[in-house]
């Protein structure tokens, strides 16, 4: 009279194992769910009942109680329905006892008994595997994704009736769908971006390259129409590929957020997120009413978050970015839950330098107007940009620039150098070197030291600014394939981090 099935639910972007217990006992017909279900879970009765009846199975004419354990965790979404249905079958002796021993089950049901895919399958299967399930049954559409998790056998379910037959041993399990071949990946309709389209702007291009290689935050300022956005968008074309562990991490997050995954299951490109400036604070950093959802900063994890027209974002949204920028994670505390969203992104932003947009010598704004505009952007946020420089349109004689492919190779080599250098440290990229370790990890020789001292003593570079210049100098050296940071690297780094605006 009792059936117990393993399943899992999403909290934030992580999976949480859930045991679904179904009890059928004498009493008036009724259906009760206990264990902090949300509305979607409570609604499951109608779908489970219809799915069972459509599959020529029985729905008990007595009292059904469903318990979702552990009781303290809020269960969300419809992904527990297949487990409930199997629990009812177990409790009603429609399945042999022990048929689901060591098996985790995920899936949503259609009224016709079809098993439908669930969001976040990767995180859910991972949670089930870690809780000791040796086999997971997942909807067919989630099978490729689920197979990414090691140490667990993936079985696919297409419909409730077929699944029952397989579990009873009356039929063979349907085979996992084939991994589509690479040629099946349809190119997108958009013209592929390439850095070759950017004319001139030698320093701005170098800043972009350094940003990609060292994971530095980048701010481009300039009048409208000079190509800031054009340049920034092409960062995506030179970002280094994700490492295997990172790819899994990113795929997990995007899967949990319910975003479409590439047909070849793993996300291999670094994410490049570009929210519009009307984005709300929860949309940017995560949270929101109901189930807390990952924000843009989390979707940009291990990739880049591009904010065009930084000055147009509401100040509250920009202030909310400061904590994830510092911690590279977002912590959301709610009554009952405390969530942790990873948010290791690099920030790329474009902004007009002042209200008139022209900046520099042709600016018609007063000092007061400029100061007010700067305040909108808030000094603590501006301070976090390692690279910030003015962009002006190309000169008349400028020809097309270097193509993305060549830049991408240099970036990949520089990233590899960093990976080797920081093998024994908890960070991987130059932008993340703590200030305390700079002197040891980025030593400066005679000329470089002199340039460095000149910047601090004569140019009035602040301590924090000097640390940022030093990190960028290291990246420039890595891009040049140099082991030692030279004075040219230090001075170039300083040239790429200008006063704003």
């Amino acid at each position: 009279m009792l059936g117990s099935v393993r399943s899992a639910t999403l909290t934030g972007v992580d999976g949480q194992p859930v045991t679904v217990e179904v009890h059928i006992a004498a009493g008036l017909p009724g259906y009760h769910v206990v264990g902090l279900p949300d509305a979607a879970v409570r609604e499951s009765q109608a779908r489970v009942r219809a799915a069972l009846l459509s599959s020529e199975l029985e729905w008990p004419k007595t009292r059904v109680t469903v318990n979702l354990a552990p009781g303290g965790v809020r269960k969300t979404g419809a992904g527990l329905e297949l487990a409930v249905a199997l629990g009812v079958m177990l409790a009603g002796d429609q399945l042999p006892a022990g048929a689901l021993e060591g098996i985790g089950v995920l899936g949503e049901l259609g009224l016709d008994g079809a098993v439908r895919p669930v969001p976040g399958a990767l995180a859910l299967v991972d949670a089930l595997a870690r809780s000791g399930a040796g086999v997971v049954v997942v909807p067919e559409a989630n099978a490729i994704e689920a197979a990414l998790i090691d140490g667990v056998e993936v079985r696919t379910a297409r419909s409730l009736g077929e699944l029952r037959a397989c579990l009873k041993g009356e039929a063979d399990w349907p085979s996992c769908p084939e991994l589509p071949s690479e040629s099946d990946d349809h190119p997108t309709d958009e013209d592929p971006l390439d850095l070759a389209e950017v004319r001139g702007l030698a320093h701005a291009r170098r800043a972009l390259e350094a940003a990609a290689a060292g994971a530095h935050h980048l701010l481009l300022t300039g009048p409208p129409g000079v190509g800031k956005t054009m340049l920034a968008r092409r960062l995506a074309t030179i970002l280094p590929p994700l490492e295997a562990a990172e790819a899994l991490e990113v795929t997990r997050i995007h899967s949990a957020a319910g975003r479409p995954l590439p047909s070849r299951r793993l996300i291999e490109q670094r994410p490049f997120r570009a929210p519009h400036h009307t984005a709300s604070v929860p949309a940017l950093v995560g949270g929101g009413s109901g189930r807390p959802r990952p924000g843009e900063v989390t979707l940009a994890h291990r990739g880049a978050l591009f904010l065009d027209e930084l000055g147009e974002f509401p100040p509250s949204a920009l202030d909310a970015l400061r904590q994830p920028l510092e911690d590279r994670a977002v912590h959301i505390a709610r009554s009952g839950v405390s969530l942790h969203f990873p948010a290791d992104f690099q920030l790329v932003a474009c902004s007009n330098p002042c209200p008139c947009g022209r900046g520099g010598p042709t600016c018609a704004c007063s000092e007061v107007q400029r100061a007010r505009y700067r305040r909108r952007l808030s000094a603590p946020l501006l301070d976090r940009f390692d690279l910030r420089l003015p962009v002006r349109g190309p000169e008349p004689a400028d020809g097309p620039g270097e193509a993305s492919a060549g830049v991408r190779d240099r970036v990949a080599a520089a990233v590899e150098r960093q990976r080797c250098r920081y093998a024994d440290w908890p960070w991987r990229r130059n932008a993340h070197i703590p200030a305390g370790a700079l002197a040891r990890l980025v030593p400066l020789d005679g000329d470089a030291e002199e340039a460095w001292r000149w910047l601090i003593d004569d140019r009035g570079l602040t301590g924090r600014g000097a640390a940022r210049v030093r990190r960028v100098a290291r990246t420039l050296a890595d891009l040049d394939g140099a082991t030692v940071v030279s004075d040219a690297h230090v001075l170039s780094a300083a040239l790429l981090r200008d006063d704003v605006p």
Binding site: G200, A364, S366, D499
Partner: protein, 348 residues
């Protein structure tokens, strides 16, 4: 109490008239013209301040009162709009006895404009000329500071507010410097706030006090052009520093030049304008004789063409790699040929 003793009864009456409740400069002018003197104008006034208290305030602040037609009143020409009464505070009233040149300009000045104003203030102070300006952000402040950087340099700051109000707040330290080395002048009562209309009205005093007016940088609609307009009306020589058509902060100057102002190409021109003999040396503080930059640095400086440029533009024009630009820019900065401001490289 010596100061109060030194203030004659007419001066005390004039101060009381200026500080009378609800009084405005234009009305002071009108009342004094009609009555013949501040004393008689005050006598006809119904609402007055407590003259004992005002006397104590004037004594404590050591305020001077200049009354039109009385000894010490600094504006010699009988201009119809000249203030009937001027209040002044500062440790060096003798700066009014020297030739006076107004150096004025926009608040949104470029680095070049600020430098020109500073150098001009310094040059004029070294020539024994008092620099008159309005203590505003930008050109005004730079000119004051330039003159104050000279030992014994004289300045007059004409403020639009009361003498006890510091506006802009950011210039509090400059106000102190001006008080110590020169004079602060106002035609408004104590406590008068920086309301918008007071500034163009104040500008006529700057023009009236000066023997010549130099506009260093001015936007097309800026207050500096108002000052220049008054100066032309009063028969003062107006000089303007020409600038590029691309520089929004030079548009006002270029418009003045088109209208017939003298182009200021050498600060000695100002000396000529106020009837002094120009000195032997060329006026603009030329970069010290360090020789000329060579190699990449020279190419970079040439590529600027005297105008501010971004590092990107210089790289494109010279064909130098970013690293070479950075090295050359440092050399130029060290030599004082180049400065960085708002993301641009500015040749001197």
């Amino acid at each position: 109490m010596t100061m109060v003793d030194r203030l004659g009864s007419e001066e005390r009456a004039a101060a009381a008239l200026v500080c009378a409740p609800g009084m405005q400069p234009a009305r002071v002018r009108e009342l004094v013209s009609r009555a013949g003197s501040p004393g008689r104008a005050l006598a006809r006034l119904e609402e007055r301040v407590d003259e004992g208290q005002l006397g104590e305030l004037l004594a404590r602040r050591r305020t001077r009162v200049y009354v039109e037609g009385r000894p010490g009143y600094p504006i010699a020409d009988a201009l119809p709009e000249r203030p009937a009464v001027l209040l002044a505070e500062g440790d060096a009233p003798q700066v009014l006895d020297r030739p006076r040149v107004a150096v004025v300009g926009t608040r949104s000045a470029t680095l070049h404009g600020l430098r020109d104003a500073h150098e001009l203030g310094k040059f004029l102070a070294e020539a024994g000329i008092t620099v008159v300006s309005g203590l505003a952000i930008g050109i005004d402040g730079a000119a004051h500071n330039g003159a104050l950087d000279v030992e014994g340099g004289g300045v007059v700051g004409v403020v639009a507010t009361g003498l006890d109000v510091v506006y802009p707040r950011r210039h509090a330290a400059l106000f102190d410097r001006v008080r110590r080395a020169g004079l602060l002048v106002s035609e408004s009562a104590f406590g008068a706030q920086p309301t918008r209309w007071r500034f163009p009205v104040r500008n006529r005093i700057i023009a009236a006090l000066a023997d010549a007016v130099v506009v260093v940088e001015a936007t097309i609609a800026g207050g500096a052009r108002i000052t220049a307009g008054f100066a032309l009306e009063y028969g003062r020589t107006v000089l303007a520093v020409p600038g590029s058509r691309r520089n929004a902060a030079a548009a006002g100057c270029n418009a003045l030049l088109a209208d017939g102002a003298h182009p200021l190409l050498d600060p000695n021109d100002v000396l000529v304008a106020v009837g002094l003999t120009p000195g032997a040396r060329r006026g603009w503080g030329a970069p010290a004789a360090r020789g000329q930059p060579t190699g990449d640095a020279a190419a970079l400086l040439r590529a600027c063409g005297g105008e501010p440029a971004t590092a990107d533009q210089l790289a494109s024009r010279t064909g130098l790699a970013p690293d070479q630009v950075a090295l050359a820019a440092r050399e130029l900065e060290k030599g004082g040929w180049l400065a960085r401001d708002r993301g641009y490289l500015w040749p001197r």
